[in-house]
Structure formats: structure tokens, C-alpha cells
């Protein structure tokens, strides 16, 4: 039965492939100047001199060939196709140090893959901390057999994001710094909707629209609502769902929601749609910060666009309850469970880092995919990928449970490359660690998506089948946390990769251009794969308690105090050898008075 379905899908894809086209993109990544929030002009990263970036339209079965030339001059770059399975093309995933080398300034890299999924996605730089500077945009894939085709008249894409005024390298330097021991993330300067503010979306009364909402942010989740309009959620992260009505959506960085809205028949009024950044995430809330961004559904261009009304509380839809249209059942019990305990802590340089199981992610010298391809049979041993990549080797076809326990008090949106996953458990706040023996029954048709957030001091469990050979990073999609090391690497069927994958020449050239090693273990050792001498490792931990110098200092202080006290006692005990001692005086006075009485 399953095999039959597989053949059927294969047949459909084949038919589509015949009609599918090849999309050729020639992209120059360049600096552009922009002022999207009207507060400050700043350099942003554009494509071919354009910013905001183009919203891409793909069709199921298309071949995408994107030739990316890095013309930034001062920064490396990359393009990650967020949410793409990249089955068979893990090397096109676009994550530097994981599946490719960074594209150095002046070099070119070609992404070449076919599109075999539909829904709402986005593309962004995956180079360290780069995409909040502008290199991110929504991407839509349409297919012929979508469950809601025909049920709406038009589509609108809406992106949300926070916006900073300082360039990311500057902010990152301040963020991971001894002067930021609490790991307080830089607070954005404003929020954007479609990379602008006061967006107007012309709508016609009575029509039904499919809105594709994408949070292309690097940090802030947003509450989104449209005044007096009900949203019917029909898609999350590329997974079509049974319609779910709500008046508010909570969308974290990197998540997507599609929803249907049927317009009113009355055209006299325009309606505000509001994105409101989740200020729980911010350590401080500057009084000048407007954490809301407003747009309007414009029925009548002449009518007033009134400011949105204040709301008393946020009551968003709980995405855990969504049901995929395809009805994919809960996968079997896991063959392998990866448990990750999330903590934030300071290391020896005084800066704050993020940890899974006490290990903070540090990029290896050799991109992990290349290590998997060049270490032979040792590729199935996680040691060769380096201590600080925290690699997990997954066997092909296994059912994997990934348990994430959040020992931090913040919300974290997690993204797994190369998969969408069943969300089988997500706890409330402060639920503590996941306990398999003491948890609610798992949903029979779990919601699937590729980015899921964990609640403060809570946990989630996601389940997926390791059916996609490749190297996939699992990381927090808050870019600050990602750069602070909140990531692990999952390596699926490395020996299969060695047999099937051929890395194109331009990918190797990118490594040469960026002086990155191309083979061997994480340390670049091509002889002894288990010798990781020289591998990139994290800063050593802070010494706790008394070290040698502390003891010496304390002992010296004690000695100084004791000597000081001795000197005081000595002084106090010393006879007072002044010219006239009080004793003499008393005697004299005494004699004086006695003589007077005589």
C-alpha cells in the first residue's frame, strides 16, 4: 500500500517534471541603502542592487539554479532555503560549515536543486548573524493539487520582522561580550511588515484571500491579528492543515502560517492588521520603542485608516492543535531518541553562551558534510565531527524522537533543516523536563512543521523519520542564540551520502576562496580521523571557586590583616612615653591637694 502510494507520488512528480521549468537566477549579493522604518537610513544587504528582496515564486517540480555572486566585499555569505527537504541535495541546503563553505567576497556559488514540496517558505543567509541585515525574504511554492485551490480568489504575502539600526557584526560583538554577561539580546528598534510600516493591502469586498504570513525575523516573535476579521489557518510551515479559525496568531521567527480571510461586504471602512512583537523576549523595553507594526486591509482608499484599538490581552491560536490535511498518522515508537537540555551560561571569557547538554556549538574547520564524505567508515562515529558540533548519527529509516528540555526562562523557536517533524509533545511553561512515563497521550495525527518553539522552562518532543540522507543542523532560530552556540548537527546515513553525493566543482572552489579545509575530520586531519588536535573548540569554562591565585590572595590578605592587628596591639601595649605621663600628673595633683589641705 505504502509502496503503491510512493509510486503514485513518483508518477505525479514525473508528470509535473515534464511540465516543470528551470528557474535560473543570477544574484549579486550587494550592499544597498534603505530606511524601511523611516527612522534611520542604513546599509542593508540586497540582491542585484535591490532591497527589499524579491519574493520568489516556485512551482512544484521546478528546477532552481541560483548562481550567487558575493559582491559584499567585506562579508562572506550564503543562501539557505528554509524548510526545503533537499532530499538528495543536502549540499544545496546553504548552511556554511554544515553543508558548504562560506561564499567569500568575490566568489560564486551555485545552488541547484528541484522543488518537491508546496507551501510558504523563505530564503535567507545562513552565514553567521547575517540575515537580519536584510538578506531574507519570503518564498512561495505552488502546486497543482493543493487542498485549498479554488477556495480563495487571491493571495497576499505578508512578512513580519524586527529591525535593527546597527549592522549585525557590531551588535554581535556587543552581544557575545564580557560586558553582556546576562546574554541580553539587542532590542530591536522597530517592527516591519513587508519591510515597511503602514502597509496597505488593497482588498475587494466579498472576496476570499489566502494570506501567507512569514516571520523573517531573527529574534522577535509577533502576535498578528486583523481587526474584525477571522483568520482560517490552512498551512503551517509548508504543511496544509484542516482549517482552524482564530482571531490571533503567534508566529515566531522563521515560522509561516497561511490563512484564509473572507472580506466583508461593507466597503466603508478599512481595517488595521497588527504585528506586535512579543516583548517577553526583550530584557529591556526602551520607552521609545514602538513594538507594534500596523498595516491596513484597504477596502476604500478614500476612507480613514484608523489606528488599531488597544487590546487587553493576547490570546493566540495554539498551533499544537492543528491537524495536517494529509492525515499522516503518528509515527511508530522511536528507534532512537536524542535528548537535548538547553542552558545558558557564561564561559571563561565572561560572555554568555547557549548550550545543549553542556556543549556550545562551534563551527568545525571542515564543513560537517565534507567530513562525512571524506572520513570513510569513520563517518558513522560522531567523534570525527568534533566535540563542539555535537553530531548525532542517525540510521537511515529510523524513527527519531528529539526531546528538548528548556532549562532557560525564555521562549526558543527551533528549526530542523531537511525535515518537517511531528510535534508529539509540547509542554506548558515551567513543566520541567520531559518524562516519557508521565506525559499526556500523543496525538494520533500530530501537527507537523519545521520550526517549533519551546515554552519557558518547558519541553517538546518532535518525531520524524530519518529518510533524508544528509547533514542537517537543528538550531534555535533566534540568530543571537544560534551564534551563541545553540545548535546540534544531525547526520543521516553518512555512508549513503558517500555513495550517492558528488559535490560540484564550484562548491570546492568556494572553500579555496574562503581558505576552508575540505576534507578530513572536524580538525582537518585526513590521516587519523580520531585525532582532533587543533579542532575548533569553545572558550574554556569559567573557573569556579578559589583557584591558586585566589588562595594566594586570600592568604596574603589574612597575613596582612594579622600583621596589622599585631602592630596595633603592640602600639596599644607600649608604655606611653610622653613627657608627662598621666600617672605622674595624677600624683602631682594629688600631692598638690594634699599639701593644700595641710
Amino acid at each position: 500500500m505504502e509502496l503503491g502510494l510512493f509510486w503514485l507520488v513518483g508518477f505525479v512528480v514525473h508528470i509535473l517534471a515534464a511540465s516543470a521549468k528551470t528557474l535560473n537566477y543570477e544574484w549579486n549579493i550587494t550592499w544597498v541603502s534603505a530606511n524601511p522604518d523611516g527612522l534611520q537610513e542604513r546599509p542593508v544587504i540586497g540582491i542585484n542592487g535591490q532591497w527589499p528582496l524579491p519574493v520568489l515564486d516556485f512551482t512544484l517540480g521546478d528546477r532552481v539554479i541560483a548562481k550567487v555572486y558575493n559582491a559584499l566585499g567585506n562579508q562572506s555569505s550564503s543562501i539557505h532555503w528554509h524548510g526545503f527537504f533537499q532530499n538528495g541535495t543536502t549540499h544545496m541546503d546553504g548552511a556554511p560549515s554544515i553543508t558548504q563553505c562560506d561564499i567569500a567576497p568575490g566568489s560564486t556559488f551555485v545552488y541547484n536543486f528541484t522543488v518537491d514540496q508546496t507551501g510558504t517558505y523563505w530564503y535567507h543567509s545562513h552565514s553567521r548573524g547575517q540575515y537580519p541585515d536584510g538578506l531574507r525574504q519570503a518564498l512561495v511554492i505552488r502546486g497543482p493539487d493543493e487542498p485549498y485551490s479554488g477556495q480563495y480568489d487571491e493571495e497576499r504575502v505578508i512578512t513580519l520582522s524586527e529591525w535593527y539600526h546597527d549592522p549585525m557584526p557590531t551588535l554581535l560583538k556587543q552581544f557575545i561580550s564580557v560586558t553582556n554577561p546576562t546574554g541580553a539580546e539587542p532590542v530591536p528598534k522597530s517592527a516591519l511588515m513587508n519591510d515597511t510600516q503602514n502597509l496597505t493591502v488593497a482588498v475587494e469586498s466579498g472576496k476570499t484571500y489566502l494570506f501567507r504570513l512569514v516571520n523573517v525575523a531573527a529574534f522577535a516573535s509577533q502576535y498578528f491579528w486583523i481587526e474584525d476579521h477571522t483568520m482560517r489557518i490552512v498551512e503551517v510551515d509548508g504543511v496544509w492543515t484542516e482549517p482552524a479559525e482564530t482571531s490571533m496568531i503567534y508566529i515566531t521567527a522563521a515560522q509561516r502560517y497561511s490563512f484564509l480571510v473572507t472580506m466583508k461586504n461593507d466597503t466603508s471602512k478599512n481595517y488595521a492588521m497588527v504585528g506586535s512583537m512579543d516583548t517577553d523576549l526583550f530584557d529591556t523595553l526602551p520607552p521609545t520603542l514602538n513594538y507594534n507594526v500596523t498595516g491596513w486591509l484597504v477596502y476604500d482608499n478614500q476612507a480613514e485608516k484608523s489606528a488599531p484599538a488597544n487590546i487587553s490581552s493576547f490570546d493566540p491560536y495554539d498551533d499544537f492543535g492543528l491537524v495536517p490535511v494529509d492525515g499522516e498518522k503518528l509515527l511508530d515508537d522511536p528507534d532512537y531518541t536524542v535528548t537535548l537540555d538547553l542552558t545558558m551560561d557564561n564561559l571563561g571569557d565572561g560572555a554568555n553562551y547557549a548550550f545543549f547538554n553542556g556543549i556550545t556549538y562551534v563551527m568545525p574547520k571542515v564543513p560537517t558534510l565534507y567530513t562525512a564524505l571524506t572520513t570513510g567508515s569513520a563517518a558513522t562515529n560522531s567523534t570525527v565531527y568534533g566535540y563542539n558540533t555535537q553530531a548525532f548519527i542517525l540510521d537511515k529509516g529510523d524513527i527519531i524522537d528529539l526531546v528538548l528540555n528548556n532549562d532557560d526562562t525564555g521562549k526558543h523557536p527551533f528549526h530542523l533543516h531537511g525535515h518537517n517533524f511531528q510535534v508529539v509533545v509540547r509542554s506548558d511553561e515551567n513543566a520541567g523536563h520531559y518524562d516519557a512515563n508521565n506525559s499526556p497521550a500523543l496525538p494520533s495525527v500530530p501537527m507537523r512543521r519545521d520550526t517549533i518553539y519551546v515554552k519557558p522552562a518547558g519541553h517538546f518532543v518532535i518525531r520524524f523519520r530519518a529518510d533524508n540522507p544528509g547533514v542537517w543542523i537543528f538550531h534555535c532560530h533566534i540568530e543571537w542564540h544560534m551564534d551563541a552556540g545553540l545548535a546540534v548537527v544531525l547526520i543521516e546515513a553518512p555512508l549513503d551520502l558517500q555513495k550517492t553525493l558528488t559535490i560540484p566543482e564550484d562548491h570546492w572552489q568556494a572553500c579555496d576562496a574562503s581558505d576552508t579545509l575540505k576534507e578530513g575530520n572536524a580538525a582537518g586531519n585526513t590521516k587519523d580521523f580520531y585525532d582532533l588536535t587543533g579542532a575548533n573548540v569553545s572558550v574554556p569554562p569559567l573557573p569556579a571557586g578559589f583557584t591558586a591565585r585566589g588562595i594566594v590572595a586570600l592568604v596574603f590578605s589574612c597575613i596582612a590583616a594579622v600583621l596589622g592587628l599585631i602592630s596595633i596591639v603592640w602600639y596599644g601595649m607600649a608604655p606611653i612615653t610622653v613627657k608627662e605621663s598621666p600617672a605622674d600628673e595624677r600624683r602631682e595633683v594629688g600631692s598638690n591637694s594634699s599639701s593644700s589641705s595641710s
Partner: protein
Amino acid sequence: MVNVFAVQVFFIVFRECLEAAIILSVLLSFLKQSLGQPHQDQSIYKRLVRQVWAGSMVGILCCLIIGGAFIGVFYGLGHDIWSKAEKLWEGIFYLIATIIITVMGLALLRINKTKEQWRVKIAKALVDKGKNQTKSKWLSGWARRYAMFLLPFVTTMREGVEAVVFVGGVSLGYPATAFPLPVLTGMLTGLTCGYLIYRGGNAMSIQIFLIASTCVLYLIAAGMFSKSIWDLQYYRYQMAVGSDVAEQGSGPGSYNIRETVWHVNCCNAETDNGWDVFNSILGWENTGTYGSIISYNAYWIFIILCVGYMLWEERSGKRSLRERILVVFAKVPGLKWYASPKLAAMQQNPEDIVREVHSGLFNEEGAEQQQVVELK
């Protein structure tokens, strides 16, 4: 603990009360020796003794009122301003307190010497009054009539206000609740001690007690000096970090790792019970910084050098440091009023003045004595 008992305050009050008690005892000794003899008029003697007590009491009362007002105004107006940059002010206040304690502390060991100085001071004041036949005969007469009231009144009030200013300077960082208890106990201990000295009890045990309290005082001072540096560094760190680092408790992020010599994730003087006592007496911090440790050691070395110098000075009979400092102060316009009289008192031969008092003060009653002195 620290919120209800500021140890520094206790010691300052103790010290000032001891001094006041000594003044009183000196005055009473004077009276006793001059007028209190069996053959003399007991009514005059008793009247004068009453005057002394009344004068001291009124003086103390006045200074308590002034002090209360001072501290009340201070907490009413100033505290909010300072709480905003708490660590900066704390650092500065601790520095002031350290200097005050350091300057006055060692004198506690020479309290007998102080007693002597006071004898001279009082005698001199009496002599001056006797000499200056001022413009108004009435005033002069009044002043003389009530000399035994005015003298203790003026001196206790002056010393008392000094104490208030010192207490204020030392304890600016404390909440108002930290005052009453140490002030009360400090007064009691000081007066008891003064009484014991007056009674001429066991000189040795009093001396040991004084030594012990001086030791504690200097432990506190060293700790405060170290803490003052610590606070200033911490303030700078707070500025750099920008957020409220105190919220971080004791763990990473609560301290500047670049200046840390040791750090233990516990025993935080600000948050953990018991350690605040350790902190206020010995200057303990769960983070030892280079600045605080070096300053702590340097402070003790400085004290050792000072003590060495003072011992040498006493033994060699050279002009004392205090005198030298006063000489310098006397040349500074703003400080002249303070330094000159003290210097004058110091440079006068105490023997002479005391004798002069005995001869000149109570001339009606003391004619007999005067003769005796002259005979001698």
C-alpha cells in the same frame, strides 16, 4: 543584620562617647580636687557639679537633636538621588568612612593621652575666661558664674556634632533602620568605659578592651577601604554592562571576570544571610578583585607603617605627626579655624595651664590653694 546594626556607627558613637565621658571625668576631677575637699564649701561644689552634669546633658541633647535633624534631612532628601547610582555612592561613602576611622582610630589607644589633652584644653579655656575681662561685665560675670555649665555644654556639643557628622559620613550607605541600635549600644559602652576610666579601675583591662576594640575598628576600616574600591569597580562594571547586574545573584554575570581573582557562586554579601555581617566587619565579597585585594593589603601595610612611625615618634620625642599636620592645616585658609586652636593648645606647656587654673579660677575660694602653689 546590617540593616539594623551598622557596626561602624557603633564604634564611632562608642569612641565619641568615651571622649565625652573623659571630658566629664576631667571636669569632675578638677572640681573634686579644687573644691570637693572636706573642709571646703560643699554647697558650691555640689552646685558646680550639678552645672557640669547639666551642661553635658544639654550639650548631648542638643547634638542629638542636631544629629537627628541632620540624618532626617539626609534620608528625606538625599537618599533617593544616591540610590540611583548606589554602588558609586557606596564606594565614595566607604572611602570617606575609612579615612575618618583611620584618622581617629589609633587615638583610642592613647585615650589617656586624650584625657591629658582635655585637661589642658579645659584648663586653657578657664584661664582664657579669667584673663579676658570682656566688654560686658555682666556677660563676663555670667560666663564665669556658669563656666562649669558652658564648658561641658560647648565641648560635648562640639564633640557630639563631630560624632554626628562622622556617623553620617560613615553610614550614608545604610538604611535609617541601621542607626538606633548601634547608636544606643555605642553610647552605653562608651559611657561605661568612660566611667571605668574615671573610677580608675583596672587600667590594664581597660587598655585591653581598648586595644580589642581598636583592632575591630581597623578590621572594619580595612574591609571598608577594600569594599570602597570594590564598589567603585563594580559601578564601572555596571555602567559597562548596562543592565542591572545585581539581579544576577551570585553566578556568572554578577561579576566582572576580567578583574576577578576569585569568585565563589555563593556567600553573596548582598543576598545571602549571614555573609553581610562578614562583609561589614571584614569586607568580605564573594568576588575578590585585583583592586579590592590590593587595596586591602595596602591598607594594612599603611597602618603598620603608621603605627611604626607613631611609636618611633613617641619614643624619640619628636614633634608629633598630628602636630605637623595641624601646622600644615593652619596655613590653609579654610582649615585655620580648626587647626589653630588645637595647635595652640598643643604647643602650650600643659603643666603651666593646669597650674594656672588651680591658682586663678576659683580665686575667692581658691586663695588658699594659690598660696600653696606659690609656696611650692
